[in-house]
């Protein structure tokens, strides 16, 4: 079942010395439960594309469809996770997790139960009355993810969501997040500039060209191992093959 369709998206913006084309004719679609990554040379407009999908920015051309409906404005069907966990330090973990529901006036018993269930499943329930400064970086990131999942989005956008973490925590968190997303059957689109990270987590990697960005290739990632996790697939010989491939694709399009 198709969840997200990016349909001929174009984006130009007006700078003082002329018009700049950022995105040019970008199209792809994501089915339910799939994990997509978006990689491209730095400054190619990945974050612009994310903002358009999230409805924070209106594209100059084309449209974004979620479940067949065009996105206009900030869509309640999207969960957007930013680089920092952005947990509010004056709220407890549980109050933070309920923040999205509160903003959307959806604090129903059913939704609160669901959020509590997520806290329980992912080991944060006993820390629910703690404050963000009292728990570890990995747990904070998990709490931020639960906050995003608590509003039951149809698709999750991860915008460099782990790049603020140190390497060790980052490996732990990607492992954590991967398990959560697969278990909850969350459709995900991640922007990253970390090639190993995108290989280790994705079902498909969308490679963009340099500005104006177009889709260079949509690369399916599969491993011949029984239970794939971000850490276990890093040892597979296929991993380095994918790495080389993506690296080359990015390199030869750098100016």
């Amino acid at each position: 079942m198709e969840v997200l369709r990016i349909d001929h998206i174009e984006q130009t913006y007006q700078a003082k010395n002329g018009e700049v084309a950022a995105l040019k004719d970008i199209s792809f679609h994501i089915d339910k439960g799939q994990f997509f990554s978006l990689v491209g040379p730095s400054g190619c407009g990945k974050s612009t594309l994310m903002s358009i999908i999230a409805g924070l920015l209106t594209p100059s051309g084309g449209q974004v469809l979620i479940g067949g409906e065009p996105v206009t404005g900030i869509s309640p069907r999207i969960g957007y996770m930013l680089q920092k966990d952005n947990l509010l330090e004056w709220r407890t973990i549980r109050q933070n997790v309920l923040f999205g529901l509160e903003i959307r006036h959806q604090l129903t018993e059913k939704n609160i139960d669901h959020a509590d269930q997520l806290l329980k499943t992912y080991g944060l329930y006993e820390f629910r009355d703690k404050y963000p400064s009292q728990i570890s970086g990995g747990m904070r990131q998990r709490a931020a993810l639960i906050r995003t999942l608590a509003v039951c989005p149809d698709i999750l956008l991860l915008d460099e969501a782990f790049s603020a973490l140190d390497y060790q925590t980052r490996l732990e968190v990607t492992e954590d997040v991967y398990q959560i997303l697969k278990r909850e059957q969350v459709t995900t689109l991640m922007v990253t500039h970390d090639i190993p990270e995108c290989i280790s987590m994705s079902d498909f990697v969308v490679i963009l060209t340099a500005r104006p960005a177009t889709v260079r290739e949509i690369l399916p990632i599969t491993f011949d191992i029984p239970t794939r996790t971000p850490l276990s697939c890093r040892n597979s010989p296929q991993f380095s093959a994918y790495f080389d491939h993506i690296w080359r694709e990015l390199e030869c399009h750098e100016p």
Partner: protein, 272 residues
Amino acid sequence: MSRKITPTLSPQRRLYLKTEKRRRQRVLFTQIGILVLFIGWWEIAARVGLIDSFIFSQPSRILDTYLNMAQNGLLTHIGVTVFETLTGFLLGAVTGTVLAVLLWWSPFASKVSEPYLVVLNSLPKIALGPIIIIIAGAGTRAIVVMALAISLIVTVLEMLGGFHRTDPEFIRMAETFGASRAQIFFKIVFPYNVSTLFNSLKINIGLSLVGVIAGEFLVSKAGLGYLIVYGGQVFKLDLVMASVIILSVVAALMYEAVSLLQKLTVSRIEHS
């Protein structure tokens, strides 16, 4: 913070704690010593005629003044000044914060008002005294308006600056959930700026007192500012000195009250 003293304390640790304690005691002892020496020297210098006690007064005469003042309604004068200060302070804090919220709400209004705020902020508000008296009448109202005039613009600038310094990532996070401007303000910007609010309150309590004293210099029938001006006019310098000392105590107490309120509030919302 509570320090647990356990018998397993290492000798180095015990030595460190002891040195720390001794250093704190030394500071306190010196502080009190300076005050005692100063008062003692003042009294002796006045008695032996080294300084003119008519102009500089002297501690024993100030003490006498206090005893007399207690019968002449000293408490009323303190009460009047404190009441005027608190009224001006609360009005300034509330009005200033509300104005800052409105300016945060409309970036256009914020940009437009910028040069006006800068000019108003650097203008010595005491210069407005005569106008204020004519508009508000020669009385308590003029004094409160004076206190308000002095603290208002600072509050607006301080709070608006704080609102604008709110971490934009927090706001963006709220926006991704579709938060309205009001939700962003009440759930992110305002809680984020509780400490800014208290810092501005701390500045304001002092500024309001400046406004009240200046107002009382110009028009009043009671209050510490009135006592100081009256004492000066009739050459009762004992009265002036006594009032100034009380004024400094009142100022310190009011500042401490705000500090205490801040500690109580912050310990409830910050946890680390």
